[in-house]
Amino acid sequence: MFGNYAGFILASYGVTAATILLLVLWVILDGQKQAKILAQLHERGIHRRSERAKAAANS
């Protein structure tokens, strides 16, 4: 489709796609990791000061 230069063009787009995929995986997995740790802290009864103040105000 791209003539004699197909290898160079496909390699360029391939490297770009792989790099973007790694970035997407990084932000998703990192987000999941932080959410998991935050949930574990909440389970142990550890909350932020503002969350505790809000809960106290509601109760």
Partner: protein
């Protein structure tokens, strides 16, 4: 309250990480959909609509990812420099978060720019790499990004790390005008600017429009990834402060127990 005052109040509101996170939750999905559409349209135009160059043939298709990657690598660093000012001068709570989230993205786009440039250079120049001013300065930008990321990880306290990185970021900004004007200041193998010139773009619309669409799509992609990385960083800092708070509580509880034992 006037309309201007209302607007400035709303913008100031975004300095609050909790309100910023609430805004991100609202805009992320529409932004993601827009990014996917823009990337789809851009790739279609770049690969199937735009013509081959009369000199470079089909290799010109590499331009549609190489040039936006280069622009974004420089844009990310410029944004980090503004964030560095926000950290040092205005002590904005999100400035350092923004800079830290942008650094890996800037490094990745620098890497894409260098790699695709290499794949373009081999068939056109006959070499994968040449130590000319444009290529070398872009490589230095990648090294600066990696250095900043390493410095963030070397200092445990995020506030101290943020200040140290902000100073280094401001010093490193010198590379941005060097990259931009390297093709004018020195004799380089790399071609001079063809889009942002005083006489306007030196490129036919059949190539310019796909290039601008791809640049827009890459910018949207950067924005989505940056916002998500910022959210992760805000959560990471909250977790750190909660863990430290819990540790302090445990330590003060232990001290109280120890003193009551001593009194008995």
């Amino acid at each position: 309250m006037t309309e201007t005052e209302t607007k400035s109040f709303q913008i100031r509101d975004l300095a609050n990480p909790t309100r910023f996170l609430a805004l991100l939750d609202k805009i992320m999905l529409p932004l993601l959909i827009l990014t996917i559409i823009a990337l789809g349209v851009g790739l279609y135009m770049a690969l199937f609509v735009s013509p081959d160059d009369y000199q470079q043939g089909s290799t010109v298709k590499i331009m549609y990812i190489h040039v936006p990657a280069a622009w974004l690598a420089m844009f990310a660093y410029t944004m980090m420099t503004v964030s560095a000012l926000g950290t040092l001068v205005w002590k904005h709570p999100l400035a350092d978060v923004s800079a830290k989230a942008a650094a890996p993205l800037g490094a990745a786009f620098s890497f894409v720019c260098l790699t695709t440039g290499s794949f373009w250079g081999k068939p056109m120049w006959g070499t994968w790499w040449v130590w000319d001013a444009r290529l070398t300065s872009m490589l230095i930008l990648l090294i600066i990004y990696l250095g900043l990321i390493a410095l963030w990880h070397a200092i445990e306290d995020p506030l101290k790390a943020g200040k140290a990185v902000a100073i280094l970021t401001l010093v490193g900004f010198i590379i941005i005008p060097i990259i931009k004007f390297s093709v004018d200041w020195w004799s380089t193998l790399h071609q001079p600017a063809t889009v942002f010139t005083l006489d306007g773009p030196k490129m036919d619309n059949s190539m310019l429009i796909p290039l601008l669409v791809m640049a827009g799509a890459f910018t949207l992609l950067f924005t989505v990834l940056h916002f998500k990385a910022m959210k992760n960083e805000i959560l990471r800092r909250r977790i750190r402060s909660m863990q430290m708070q819990a540790a302090r509580q445990v330590a003060s509880g232990n001290r109280a127990a120890a003193s009551s034992v001593a009194q008995r």
